[in-house]
Amino acid sequence: MASFEDSERVKLRFIETCERLLTSGQLQEDDFEQILEILEAIDDYTEEELYQKLRRLTHGAIDRFPWDAL
């Protein structure tokens, strides 16, 4: 159960960071809403669905992410 608690804390920290970006104008309201939507259902998405959601959110920038380097 520790993973539930940890993952919820991580999500909230991430949301808090996004809130700050939103306040400073570095993140659009629509994008923030999308982030919240993804976080909410993240456990229900397949890997492919998640990737498509992130692609839409990042306007395709995720394709340029060096996944192989991870």
């Binding site: 608690e5 999500k11 909230l12 909410e40």
Partner: protein
């Protein structure tokens, strides 16, 4: 008063633990929802989060921090919902901590309620000190009662059939062994008892009639009959004073000497001067009556709230209080007149008295006048529509009983037919029994009813 406001009973840790557990184990909401209301949470943010959890749960949605965050963000009631929720994640607790935390919150909330009542009573006494003292005392009792009564509300109100049947079985055995009355409270008029199987606890019984039909007399006869079995009775008389009631009780008992010729004590003799022998007999009656557990409140213009406060007091002093008689409905003072119609106010008072019967677990017999509509009909037997200002009296009452004396309207015929003094007790409504009519004889000069017919027409 600062010492009170600075020390508001609260348990922030317990509030956080409950919220943490509910978010982590949403299925536990079922266990909590009927026992904790938002106001059980002292911290306004916690209260808001709890309401959000309940809303999400009721909407069938899943409960997560993100969902809660979304809701809180949209409502804009909390400055930084994420930060607040992060704080809450520090309170992740084991499920086993749920029950003790609920108990802690309920205790703290009950204490806060008590403190609020104290504050209100204080301002009542200080700011409204020039008001009638009994009215302030009644309000104070109301406040204290409300502050203490709800403590148990929300406990498991579901009863298994096994528990219910157990109680029914015990009652059955007690009735069989003669420990308790047959089902309800017997008023020792066999015809009436046969119709009602006894007055039921929590029931409101309306006893209505036109003036001079004998409704107060019948009610007082019932009171004495009940009290003779050592069952405490409370009489609230808004019309007659204590001495009038006392005299009526004595007089109805003096009826026993009616057949004793020279020793008979008539109403006029009782009210003037008795012979030595008569006085000795009257003394005997007084000695018998002294012991009866009858409490009388004779105050005009009582409101339902005041009656409730007084009845609660009597019930506390006599937990086995068996019957309350109120004489009569139309003399009860409405609490707030406002723009509402008299009929609505009367309906409201009747509903409150029915609730009081339920709360005190005792039958209440409420006497009522009938409107003049009866007089304009050829058949003057009362009907439901004759309940003056009836509103929804009929709806709220568990039983409606009318008295009708034919000899009042047709005295000569009654003499010819031998029905003089015959009173029809018309059971127009009984939630737990049949409707129909039974007959008693009313000996007016003794304000005494006799059950000599005992041939109820039950349908």
């Amino acid at each position: 008063m600062n010492s009170i406001t600075n020390l508001v009973p609260r348990d922030s840790g317990a509030e956080q633990r409950i919220l943490g557990i509910l978010i982590k184990y949403p299925e536990k909401v079922d266990q909590v929802i009927d026992r904790l209301r938002p106001e059980h949470f002292y911290d306004s943010v916690h209260r808001h989060v709890y309401s959000t959890i309940v809303d999400l749960y009721n909407a069938g949605g899943r409960i997560s921090y993100t969902q809660i965050y979304n809701r809180l963000r949209r409502s804009s009631t909390i400055e930084s919902p994420a930060q607040m929720l992060i704080g809450l994640t520090e309170s992740f607790a084991a499920v086993s901590e749920l029950e003790p935390s609920i108990a802690a919150l309920r205790n703290k909330e009950a204490s806060r309620r008590l403190l609020r009542a104290v504050e209100e009573i204080r301002s009542l006494a200080v700011d409204e000190g020039d008001q009638d003292l009994s009215s302030i005392q009644a309000k104070a009792q109301e406040l204290i009662f409300a502050a203490t009564q709800n403590t148990l509300q929300g406990e498991d109100e579901t009863k298994s059939l096994l528990d219910v049947l157990n109680k029914c079985y015990i009652n059955l055995v007690e009735r069989r062994q003669g420990i308790s009355d047959a089902y309800g409270l017997s008023v020792r008029f066999p015809s009436i008892d046969a119709m009602t199987t006894g007055l039921k606890r929590k029931d409101l019984i309306i006893l209505a009639a036109r003036p001079s039909m004998g409704k107060t007399a019948l009610a007082m006869n019932m009171v004495v009959n009940v009290a003779k079995r050592h069952i405490p009775v409370l009489v609230m008389s808004l019309e007659m004073d204590d001495e009038q009631i006392g005299d009526r009780i004595v007089l109805s008992e003096l009826f026993r000497y009616k057949e004793e010729g020279a020793f008979e004590i008539t109403s006029s003799e009782y009210q003037t001067r008795l012979s030595d022998e008569q006085f000795s007999k009257a003394q005997r009656v007084f000695n018998e009556l002294y012991r009866l557990p009858i409490q009388i409140i004779d105050k005009r213009g009582l409101s339902v709230a005041e009656m409730r406060a007084k009845a609660r007091k009597v019930k506390t002093a006599s937990p086995n209080l068996g019957l309350i008689v109120i004489d009569y409905l139309q003399l009860i003072k409405p609490t707030v007149q406002g723009q509402r119609s008299w009929s609505l106010l009367v309906g409201e008072m009747v509903r409150e008295l029915r609730d009081l019967a339920g709360e005190l677990d005792v039958p209440i017999v409420l006497l009522s006048q009938l409107n003049r509509g009866v007089e304009s009909r050829e058949n003057k037997r009362p009907m439901m529509s004759d309940l003056r200002d009836s509103g929804n009296i009929e709806e709220f009452a568990d039983a409606v009983v009318f008295l009708y004396r034919d000899d009042y309207y047709h005295p000569e015929e009654a003499v010819q037919n031998g029905t003089e003094g015959q009173v029809e007790i018309i059971f127009a409504k009984q939630r737990k029994g049949p409707t129909g009519t039974v007959r008693l004889r009313f000996v007016k000069e003794y304000t005494r009813f006799i059950d000599e017919f005992n041939n109820g027409e039950v349908r």
